[in-house]
Subunit: 318 residues, 6 copies
């Protein structure tokens, strides 16, 4: 029998009246008040776009590693055209985003002396020139990941599977922009990376070659951190600030050196927390879950106190 | 020379026979058995859609902050039309999702007394009316983030770059829906937020104004948590339950108050774990990685025991 | 008055010259050098595609749970056609990805004896045959999540809201592929899961039925872990390796058993770290933040030492 | 030199004030007036969607010819699942569109006796049952095209390249819906076909098997046309009405038989115009550009008068 | 048996070397030569975008008829927000396109006196103000279509099914832009309409109210045509130019009045061709396929000579 | 008051049972029968894809005219990379489509001698080499359109607004493929062009430089037509075959020369029909609606007989 599976009468949904006029008016007055609080009577200029920057990161990654992250089906004849075209489109779009940041900053600062267009051109040109160096550094990072993880089978697996590689790739790009004078664009890039990988590296952090983060979720690396060469980190490691000094008005002082210096060849295991402008001497090993707020000399091996951790209550079950 | 780069013969892939008929039959019998186990002979009604809710969250965010998160290129003349239209479309879609939840719940409960359509209208109307208040609260959260992070340069940077702001925005919307009677829609929203930010706030948690989570990955805030005003949290903080009491049949008792109360002006540093229905008195500071299962009075400063954490084994290397 | 809101002259952006020719040449020489380092003079074969695998995972999930994760609006008449068609399309696409891995591996190994096409057919056929068993296991996982979380209201809520369920679903699929001989495809799947859920389970790990991870962000489960039945984990738990033995050339030895064995009915609370090839006896409970590097007998109840954790400094404030 | 290619200052565009408030108000009052003119004080119900119907036509075409118009890569194992799933999804969507038409018609008519839901079910069921017959008819149409065009190389080329095949496919589907009681859905389908092919066949026209339209642009076939078997038409042929009788109020009488009857085995060459309820006897040939308003007996061969057409004015040029 | 359906070895396609370097160089030199021929040494400015204008037409149509062509699911509360927002977005985008045309024209003309930004603002403002009048005219066109076609069942069917309505809607918008000074944008709109409907109306043509084109494919209406009120046209009607006078250099004289004037209440049947600056007196009827190159007085009834058209050759068959 | 606007109960639609199992079975048996009729027991190989070819045409058009049809925002630095990359991607995709055609043809012919991969490489290479010549020819076509239409204001307007330019662009590409041995791919391209422009040019037709079709809807140019240099056509012109000779079995003889030869500098006005292998001598003018089936000498001026066309019946009205 072909009868309908139910005898109910289907009628369209009846929507209520949501008083949108009133909500729109309330939201408008909140917006106006918010702008007034910031002494800005008019609508602010446009900010750089997170969505555009996601596209730019995809483009730059593809240009840096065309055979692995680029368009499928590239042959030897097509690869340089692909790289050149992708670079061109990505740089043009990046230039636009940097220009948005500079105009925004100029208006916020109320300064007239700047020339955002000229500055944006300088920044995008210098950034472009630095890309081969970024690629060379990333080669060292990939090699470090391959050598540092017994589960890694091939170099290529590392490039496509390891969140730590994505995080360091985006960081190296963001860091270049941060130094060249586009800190907001750099910051959005680092948040894109954070959202994709769970690894939060401030674009201000300086990181040497052959850097490897395994697993990575929960890693936080602060703005003024300095990390040497051949450093290895595991998940949930924090390189943070110990305290935030405020000025006489209680306003936080921004920008002072307040995060650790990690020298060459240091390994920091999962969950370790290192706070303040301390120095971890070269070749040191910091054990899992260690909490460290002072400097340690080169070659240190820091672990948790053995007595601390476990109380057996065998047989108790739950 | 223009010869093909390889002399191999290209032929299409030969797929095996996968015995799909047999797999389809097996999966069907597993579905039927699964429904029987739950005493439901027939196909269950549709659940709310995660994908639709992602769109709704984008819409509501854009309506709340049209200049920052809305369509690019809005001018003063267009902004209220944008807000009104976006609200309308988002509320209509939200109404549909709430209706799906209510129908699902009504069928699951087998109750006939309910009127899902009327309830959905009530919920979507009250939710709409609460939006200006949500926006006002979010202003305080943004201000708190700006004031609390020395790396923050501008208020606008906070809104577009900080996962903690996304998490509290989605939470304030989810919490409103949770209280109005749409707990499943609220729960899906909190999972969307969790996936995007690594911050897991149950929609039942009550959170006061000027709330700030920095970095945020790994933060977990339980269902019955109560958080006061001007509270600041760092990554990997847990506000959890100590134990889950079960009834005489071993079934967990659901819904009882089992998570911490955090009073006003508390700061909790990275990795701290606070479990159970304890109270953190106002103005307290809880240090990084602290493990806390009892209440502390106002003004407490709780840190790990100094002796615990490090064993130096200088020179050992790795 | 209708005058334009500003008297400025709008002109198109003037882009700088980025010297793309030179960057393209530099990147090319870096690529060539990189291939030479790996003794590969020519362009490497294509790798499996992360994007394709995301689509495959969506398809397989929909085929396993068509009423909850499949196309909206399925009726009894349509559901088997949906399942069959979705399976077919997903298996074909998976077959293609496995074939890419096998060709890549064959070329990397320089072996001629293999027949990637035959192997791919074997793998995709056996994988298909295993799907009903995967679905049956997932039923037990969902039931465990429902029973183990007092905040869970319905079975269906668990399926659509819990990242732990996504993680175990993807893991059970990845594990099958890992065992059948497609470790790279399996690894990419586990990274997709990691990115979506913050939970990092290596596809090599063996996990019994009724497995539940709550919250989940930061969980890491290593390649050679073995987990029994009815095991429950919370966020930030690590089942890791204690050390990585190297051979006489300093190259890490890959593949040896180096992660924990967790027996049936074990609960491991948030932040606990268990390292090395140790055994957690059945029925044990491992407390939050515990650091454990040796085996414990069945029925153990391991918690942090009480004296360790807190130093009160009441009234100090910040 | 790397200087910007232009020294102009780039500033964002300054948009004028468009007085949108006033335009919105004017358009609203026009809408209200328009509804009043049609004695409809309230907003009309929703019409079927052109966009949805385009998707439905794609789906039905793919189900009818899965190897040629369906998903790429189907194998023998997958084809019936593809057909079944595509049919299911297309029929469900078609059902929705028919339901919209019936509700619209019921409200327009002000009748309460109808049951749109029951009617929609009847229509979609009978339509589904007719699909194999439609496919069988289309086989004859494709064969006729192949045999009738010396430029056709293969049967398959005909199916993918000939607009006349698209037009008759869509017409046979639209005609079934027209007869079953969904004339508006049928009419939208015929307009979709018209827009894609330049061939305008009213869904009411009855057309026998083995029908072929070559080139096709500009062909118009009126609502009450009846076309026999094995008929062949060329571009710009019109089967139209001679005049439109009006009633005593000057309103056109709708629905009466006013278009030609074309019997079996007739060929009508490009540009011929046949108007009114005339009969073209079986086996007749109507020459290019002929203008015909009366019946012709079987076996007629109608061409333009030879004397009519050309005046030579050799050497005049232009 | 589960053996693969074929034993062939699948290998990837081997692409030839296409000598792209050489083709790119050749195309470049052709571009340079082409610019030189037009005395333009540098790259020309950007033209308006066809794709953008398709979006603008969709937006304006939706704003004019929100209940029929707008977003699905609009309610009374939402409709004005939808109209306002859609207008705003469409006008802003149209403004951008007009600005591109004006800049292009200014550069082509080499004139410095113009101010493209000011002109674009004037054009978009006046265009916006004219929209309610366009909607009022379209109401008369829709009513004319309904009254003039015995196959039309409802007013709404006309709006969604008739290509003639699409063509006149787009024409009325294009004509307004043509008159306001954006002839290239207007021309692209008319080509979009031509491609969708087969009806080619030059944006310069002036057309009165209650205009109806039935079927429409092949209709051509020239640039300087003037059409009165209540005129009805059928498919393949041409209102064209008789000859194109050239100046002493053989260059066509552009812009002079060279197309027909059609007065009120004229009907022109399918295939009629009217050429030159002739006048069709009000109330006249022009029969199908008539070829007319001189004026006719009001009330004329022009048909083809009866003797002309048919030569019967009964029984000849083919 | 905020009560819902209607008191109706909304319930989901109840779909009927469509007996899909039975329809699927019927369609399968029709497919099997259809293949048997063509002596093909197994599933036919894949045909070239219309959708892929649409993308290829967009790519090739953009590579030929990068400043007008390419990506927006190209600068001098980026244009050659854009052209090279777009060419590469388009040629690779075209190669794939040609390969599909050749494999299909090889299987249909049952021949084993062919080597589709080698042939596809030959075809795509020769096609690539011909592109600069195609661009040079198109320059002459664009110039002819500009000079031939008094409504054309600029050369650029012609390129973006004239369907005749699209048609000749696609034809010149299709013709090259037709000659090189990919007639089915060529035929699909000509149908794509036909659908977009209403102009139907068989890819076999040979067309000289400086060719212009104005308006174009309804133009049909047959397979063996030969058109000289500087020819101009208007809408609805047919260059067709007079009759189709059949062999002794009644099967049409395919491929013989049966369409007109149009010599240099001929103009053919709207609606003219020229049939058979006749020659229109150079410099001739063929008037509107002329019906011509014999050759005319150079310099002819052919118009319709003056007496033919009009019968005045002034004052009759309708």
């Amino acid at each position: 029998m072909n009868a309908p599976t139910s005898g109910t009468e289907a009628k369209p949904v009846a929507y209520p009246h949501w008083e949108i006029d009133s909500i729109v008016a309330d939201l408008r007055s909140l917006r106006v008040k918010s702008l007034e609080n910031r002494n800005r009577g008019d609508r602010p200029p446009k900010l750089p776009s997170r969505k555009a920057l996601i596209g730019i990161l995809d483009g730059l990654s593809a240009a840096l590693f065309p055979n692995r992250l680029g368009a499928p089906g590239l042959t030897e004849e097509g690869v340089d055209y692909f790289v050149g075209h992708t670079l061109f489109a990505s740089l043009r779009s990046l230039h636009d985003q940097v220009l948005l940041e500079l105009r925004f900053a100029a208006e916020a600062a109320g300064t007239n002396g700047n020339d955002p267009d000229r500055e944006a051109a300088e920044i995008s040109r210098h950034f472009a020139a630095r890309l081969p160096q970024v690629r060379a550094l990333l080669e060292t990072d990939i090699a470090a990941a391959y050598q540092g993880d017994p589960a890694a089978r091939t170099i290529d697996e590392v490039l496509v599977c390891y969140p730590g590689i994505t995080a360091i790739t985006y960081h190296r790009l963001a860091h270049a922009l941060h130094r060249l004078g586009a800190p907001l664009v750099a910051r959005i890039i680092s948040d894109i990376s954070h959202s994709a990988t769970g690894i939060d590296i401030h674009p201000g952090a300086e990181i040497g070659d052959s850097f490897f983060i395994d697993h990575g979720t929960g890693v936080v690396i602060g703005e003024t951190s300095i990390i040497g060469r051949r450093v290895r980190l595991y998940q949930a490691v924090t390189l943070g600030a110990k305290r935030f000094p405020a000025d006489e008005n209680g306003v936080l002082i921004k920008g002072n050196a307040r995060h650790p210096i990690v020298e060459d060849d240091v390994v920091i295991y999962a969950g370790a927390t290192i706070l303040g402008r301390v120095t971890i001497g070269c070749g040191s090993t910091i054990g899992g879950n260690v909490w460290l707020t002072r400097s340690v000399p080169p070659g240190s091996n820091v672990t948790q106190a053995q007595t601390r951790s476990e109380v057996f209550d065998a047989g108790a079950g739950i």
